[in-house]
Symmetry: C2
Subunit: 105 residues, 2 copies
C-alpha cells in the first residue's frame, strides 16, 4: 500500500524554507522539471537524472518535501513525487513560473 | 567622494545566489522594504532596523551585493544601498513582487 511521507500543511509553507530549498541547483532542477510537466504528474525520484549518490538524492527530496514543495509517496521499491502546484501558486504567486522559466538548470 | 562597492554584471546575476541570499529573513526584510520604497530610493544600511551586530549587518549587505540584489556605495561614514530593480525585473520577472508581498518578514 502506498505510504505518504509527512509534509507541511499548506498554510505553514514558509517562504524562507522554500527559497532555501530552491537555492540548490539539483533541487531547483527537480522543481523546474515538475513545473514543466503536466499538472498532477507523478514522477519517480530517480527520473530527474540527478548526478548524485542515492543518499544525497534522498536528502534533496526530503528537503523539498519538508519545505512543502512536493508530496512524496513510497510505492513498493520506488519513491514518487508530485509538485504541490496549487498550494504554492496560492501562497506564492509567480514563484513556480520563475523556476520553470530558468534555462539550463 | 562616494565609492561604489563591486557587484555583479546584470547578465551574471545567478538565480541560485539570489535565492540563497533571500532565504535569510534579515536579508529578505531588506529587499522587502526596498521593493516597497519608491523606485531608485537610496537607503542607509542602518535604516532597516535589523536587530544584529554591525559586523553581521555588513555581512548581510555583502551577500545581497554579491548576489546582485543591491548596489552599495560608501558615503563618508555611512553605507547606502539601492535595489537593482530594473536588472532583477528583467532577469527574473515576478521575483521582487513575490518578496515585496510577503507580510511580517
Amino acid at each position: 500500500m502506498p505510504k505518504s511521507k509527512d509534509g507541511v500543511e499548506p498554510d505553514e509553507i514558509d517562504l524562507g524554507a522554500v527559497l532555501s530549498a530552491l537555492a540548490d541547483p539539483h533541487r531547483r532542477r527537480v522543481i523546474h522539471d515538475l513545473v514543466n510537466d503536466a499538472d498532477g504528474s507523478e514522477r519517480s525520484c530517480t527520473s530527474f537524472g540527478l548526478d548524485v549518490s542515492k543518499s544525497t538524492r534522498s536528502h534533496h527530496f526530503k528537503v523539498l518535501r519538508e519545505a512543502g514543495l512536493v508530496h512524496q509517496v513510497d510505492r513498493g521499491n520506488r519513491s514518487e513525487v508530485t509538485l504541490r502546484r496549487h498550494d504554492l501558486d496560492a501562497r506564492f504567486p509567480g514563484l513556480l513560473e520563475l523556476i520553470g522559466r530558468e534555462s539550463a538548470v
